[in-house]
Amino acid sequence: MHQIDTSVKHVRSTRVYALQPVSSLVKNERRLAAALFGMRSLDDQGRIFRISPISGYLFYCDQEKLWKNTAGRGLPTDRLDVERTGRGFLENANLSVSCDRVLRREGIAALFPTDVRLLWVGAIVPQKRSRPDHWLCQFGVDLPVDRERRARVDGAKIDLRIGADRTMLAVSSRWRSLQGDFLDTETIGIESEDALYSDAPLAVHRPRPAATQQIEKPFPALAAEASRPGDLSHGDDPTEYLYSLADENAPQTHLAPFLFRGHQHHAEQIPASTYSLCADILQRGSNHKLELLAVVRGGSGRYEYRWYYWEPHTVVEAGMAALGTGPQVNLSPGIYNVVLLVRDLATNSVIQAERSVHAEA
């Protein structure tokens, strides 16, 4: 847990990461299967490989071997060995990808983060057996926020299942590879300079041509006074940085930092870069109409809103419908599921919020 230096009031540099577009991962699904596991197709002799078309998450399973080691033979015997095997797999996978010219041309330089944090490791014993079938090694992801500080990526998890003779039996990765990263200034009183780029953690420089995708310079942030990390006016609650990977179904373009201020059981997130967005849907109901307000914090303050809704009782016939493009929309009394998509016009950063809303007639 890192204590924030509250004496810094003017500028704070934080690192923002651009996520690999899912489309490029899906387009190269077969090539990635070949690079990582030597597979000739996505279903190859009992082995399956998938990239989720929505989230870009990777899934691999050797169905011929997983859960088949009834005697528990040939398994590594200590945790360190398992962890080393897991880390070795991730490094080799990244090496294989980076050696593939086609993938490199597509901007896919590495599938996994270079710095993973062991969450835990344990041997998996199915019910009614007395010996483990394989080891499960779970890694979380930390990313540098700046030169001194690192932050956990909430929601990121890489599961590796390691079997006899250190064979990789399954990979389930809630992670999207990074396209590049750059320093973003949290502007508190001064305008930001051009974004700086880096193609490795902590290696900050102007982008080399074609080394990383150019990302538009962000407009100066117009963060609300209350959102500024320097303003820790709620006492000395422990505070740390946090990146957040969106749910499987939600679009996301960047991993941008938030300040995470703990408060008893729960905590609040404060945007900590011009790319960091928080969105919520507020409902104001009356007997005649349902008023929905987009409450967005962070970013440039210049947002594009897209609202969608569907009615649970008519979704099969009517499907999902567009509701509006302003910060406020209205619905007649009823029960709806509402999705709000917000795009920051300056940074192209997106965030999705959704909730069920209801107002009786």
């Binding site: 399956i48 998938r50 989720s52 998450y57 899934f59 399973c61 169905q63 997983l66 859960w67 528990g72 398994l75 015997t77 945790r79 969450l119 835990w120 344990g122 041997a123 998996i124 014993v125 199915p126 019910q127 009614k128 057996r129 007395s130 010996r131 483990p132 499960l136 779970q138 929601g155 998890k157 599961d159 299942r161 399954a170 389930s172 809630r174 749910d247 499987e248 179904n249 939600a250 408060h263 008893q264 059981h265 729960h266 609040e268 569907w310 649970p312 009782h313 979704v315 099969v316 499907g319 999902m320 029960i335 599921n337 959704e354 909730r355 069920s356 209801h358």
Partner: protein, 465 residues
């Protein structure tokens, strides 16, 4: 013949045979969830079977000669049919599904004005993994959701025939043969030194009734010495003995039910349980807590909730309480008949007169088969009483089967409308995360184990005597 489906991180086999769509070896993200999930039997009656000896109390197995299948298909990710038909659960993101429909091969109530061929459809919807929409009002748990839906439809009662027999009751029984993985390394070392036996690697269960207010949660936050029993109105954690009991009692028959030794019992809504958690007996992980699991929490567990305490349905929490329960008020936590002092039942509002009974038993294949046969399952509770005089001890973990039996009674004021609806709309959710129990909850007793009321070795135990 079983067909294997590996899609969107789910991996399973399914059979379409006698019994309809039967899911086997269900896994998510390579975590085992269940050996089998199925509808065991459907029952139809022209009266309340617990209070009558109607000859028209009949049962069907899906896809049997008496109730053949009309069609079956896999539902792809693009279809709006992937939305739950229940408004309260329609916001969950389902990624694929399986669907089949059935109709009886002969008329029910043949030769009467209300002769009909009931339509039944079965739909499994498989969700994505995440916490948006939230699975619990604290909105902290990543999980996937599975909806094993069963819909039915009978035509309106014929004009002028209300004094004659008509379909008045439907019951559907579900079986979930739970199969959660244990985490333990002793077996590797035991190849040299001897280790644990297979019976050590089992599942444990717990049952809970929620408090209606935030008192329990406030205790957790404010008092590190709080005990787990202060969090819930009633609990049995872990489950001490096999159990068959009540989850929802909203229909008239709840007040006149057949109990042990054919004594008449009265079941009130306050006596019912709200949810079942099932988790691996040996959990490994970062905490050396005797393999205990946190509640609230249960980060690697099957969760099935059919009611939440009233506070989970409140939309008017102040900001402090809202930070504890940010998702309170959302329809998946509110339920039918919700009031500020009592949570509602998570059922299809079109068929409000419902009871839910449930059982958690050891997986005894011979007994399971006996329970799914016609005679023994005629009365859901009796099936278990007859199988074993006394419930077996499962406190140390066992290979567990979770049974649910939904009863629906037709509304006599709506006989001119079709009698139709969907069962098991709440489904269940499956979390497989590393333990991330907040420190305050952990210190506040969430890992504790307790029973209240004290369980006696009898099959039916209520949340309140």
């Amino acid at each position: 013949m079983a067909r294997r489906l590996s899609r969107n991180r789910w991996d399973l086999e399914y059979d379409i045979g006698r019994g309809g769509i039967i899911l086997r070896n269900v896994k998510h993200d390579n975590f085992n969830l269940a050996r089998e999930i199925r509808v065991t039997r459907i029952w139809i009656c022209d009266d309340d079977p617990a209070a009558s000896f109607s000859l028209n109390y009949v049962s069907f197995e899906l896809n049997s000669p008496e109730m053949p299948m009309r069609d079956a298909r896999e539902i792809e990710a693009s279809g709006v049919e992937l939305n739950s038909p229940s408004a309260a659960f329609s916001s969950y993101h389902n990624v694929f599904g399986l669907d089949a429909s059935y109709a009886t091969s002969a008329d029910y109530l043949a030769g009467t004005p209300n002769a009909c061929r009931p339509l039944v459809s079965q739909r499994y919807l498989f969700g994505n993994y995440g916490r948006n929409p939230p699975h619990e009002p604290g909105a902290v748990l990543d999980a996937t959701r599975l909806f094993p839906l069963l819909s039915f439809e009978f035509p309106p009662v014929a004009l002028g025939s209300r004094g004659l027999p008509y379909p008045r009751y439907l019951r559907a029984d579900f079986l979930i043969d739970v199969d959660l993985d244990n985490i333990d390394e002793a077996g590797i070392r035991s190849q040299r030194s001897g280790g644990r036996g297979s019976s050590d690697f089992a599942n444990k269960a717990a049952i809970f009734r929620d408090k209606e207010n935030l008192a329990g949660m406030s205790v957790v936050v404010q008092s590190p010495a709080a005990a787990v029993q202060e969090l819930f109105a009633a609990l049995e954690k872990p489950l001490q003995y096999e159990i068959v009991s009540w989850g929802i009692a909203r229909a008239e028959a709840a007040r006149q039910t057949t109990g042990r030794l054919l004594l008449r019992n009265t079941v009130s809504e306050q006596q019912t349980w709200d949810n079942v958690h099932i988790w691996p007996a040996r959990r490994g992980g970062p905490y050396d807590l005797d393999n205990r699991v946190s509640t609230p929490g249960a980060f690697h567990a099957l969760h099935c909730h059919w009611r939440w305490g009233a506070v989970a349905g409140r939309r008017d929490l102040d900001w402090m309480d809202r930070r504890l329960l940010p998702a309170a008020g959302q329809p998946q936590f509110r339920g039918l008949g919700w009031s500020p002092s009592a949570g509602g039942a998570l059922v299809d509002p079109g068929i409000p007169r419902q009871n839910l009974k449930f059982a958690v038993t050891k997986s005894d294949i011979a007994a399971d088969q006996a329970r799914t046969s016609y005679e023994s399952m005629r009365d859901f509770e009796n099936a278990f009483y007859l199988a074993r005089l006394n419930p077996e001890d499962v406190s140390g973990g066992s290979d567990l089967v979770f049974w649910l039996s939904f009863e629906v009674f037709r509304d006599p004021s709506k006989l001119d409308e079709p009698f139709k609806g969907t069962l098991f709309v709440n489904g269940f959710y499956f979390a497989h995360n590393q333990d991330d129990t907040p420190f305050t909850a952990a210190a506040g007793g969430a890992y504790g184990e307790a029973s209240n009321p004290h369980p006696t070795r009898q099959w039916t135990r209520f949340a309140r005597s």
